[in-house]
Amino acid sequence: MPSAAEMSGTVTLFETVSENVRDTGLAGAKLAGMIRDDPSMPSFVCLRGDLGAGKTVFARGFIGALCPGVRVRSPSYTLINEYPCRIGGRRIRVCHMDAYRINGYDDLFSTGFYDIPEGRDSAVLCEWPEKIYFALPERRIEAVISPVPADAPAGTPEGRKITVSVVNE
């Protein structure tokens, strides 16, 4: 029986409603723990959401869970921030990327994107992945942060809906 990470198509890993910054960070940390503990899980994460949705907060939770104690800075101007850390004795690179200002392959190439190790030697968290759609791995995780819809069932708290899925194209 294949794990959720190995099945084809889109498989939801978890859904949650975040009522505050702490909840959003915890969702990021939860995903990081799943990637850390399950070798079959893709380690490339597309992080989608509008400006102000909480992507950076999610990223802080994610990176903080893998690299405790690091100060997470915005990659808006540096494009890719790299956090070297050790997981179970393995040296890995956690890369936090903001693709918003990347226009096409030449731009992406010149960021050093293709120097990031593939597979279990790295974890990549990419904001605005739609700007580099041509370079996204076929197996990846999609984390989408969106407003809780107005027609949500009664009793649903206000805040952000966070949906995390594995995509196998």
């Binding site: 190439f109 050093g112 700007k131 759609y133 370079a135």
Partner: protein, 263 residues
């Protein structure tokens, strides 16, 4: 002639100090750290242990690509910085040619009379399913270049080896850190995997290739030393993007238009 050579095009960073063909000192490291942290200490080490100061160097050399984008930039920028203002010539060496130098030297040592001369196929991982590669053959212990450096997918490399009459049937000596990944896609039974030491670019052979380039008048000033990224051709990029689909236009919250593929 004293040569200081370095390489940082792939996962290993290395440096060597040579007096002509004589190796004075050599150092390399593969520890996952970025080459910005490792290359200068390696250079300092080979100079110190070799008892030579930077001012005594007659030729600076580095691999100028193809390879990792940041690695190529680090190597070229380091050599440019060391040579800046000294008026000492520099030579940028193809990383694939440096690999072929080592393989050609070994092929000459093991050549058997009456056998078809082997081909030398250096392979470096170019990602996106491609390899940086070129074809060489040994010629008196030196590599004779048969094709230009290119980024090719494994199918094209395999077709070239199998279908081109000049290469068909000849044994193929693989080298470079992409060899293991490429092997399953190459013609079966003809390709010889490299021993571990031939998976990595030897800075000694970077120095030897640089000396040869210098003797041909192909060394340059520090300002003229340039990286060679060997990007995937535009046509291939267009094809890859087409395969992903034309996408649907969408508007993000800053009001600019972005394109997102149909998934």
């Amino acid at each position: 002639m004293t040569v200081l050579a370095c390489d940082s095009c792939s996962g290993t960073a290395s440096a060597a100090l040579c007096d002509g063909s004589r190796l004075i000192s050599e150092a390399s490291v593969t520890n996952g750290n970025t080459h910005t942290e490792t290359l200068m200490p390696l250079i300092e080490t080979v100079l110190r242990t070799g008892g030579v100061s930077v001012s005594e160097i007659d030729l600076f050399a580095c691999t100028s690509g193809p390879g990792s984008f940041t690695g190529v930039r680090i190597g070229v920028a380091t050599v440019k910085g060391l040579a800046l203002g000294r008026g000492v010539p520099c030579a940028g060496v193809s990383s694939l040619e440096a690999l072929a130098y080592a393989a050609a030297a070994e092929a000459a040592a093991s050549a058997a009379a009456g056998c078809l001369p082997p081909l030398i196929l250096p392979l470096l991982d170019a990602r996106r399913g491609q390899f940086y590669t070129a074809l060489f053959e040994p010629d008196g212990g030196l590599p004779l270049r048969l094709t230009d450096d290119e980024a090719l997918d494994i199918g094209k490399i395999s077709s070239m080896l199998a279908e081109d009459g000049r290469y068909a049937g000849r044994p193929v000596l693989l080298c470079g850190d992409g060899a293991a990944a490429a092997l399953p896609g190459l013609p079966a039974g003809r390709c010889v995997m490299p021993p571990p030491h031939r998976s990595f670019i030897s800075p000694y052979y970077v120095a030897q290739a640089a000396l040869a380039a210098h003797s041909r008048g192909q060394s340059v000033t520090d300002a003229a030393l340039l990286p060679s990224y060997l990007r995937i051709p535009q046509a291939e990029r267009d094809r890859l993007e087409k395969l992903k689909g034309p996408g649907t236009a969408g508007t993000n919250t800053e009001g600019t238009t972005s394109t997102e593929a149909n998934k």
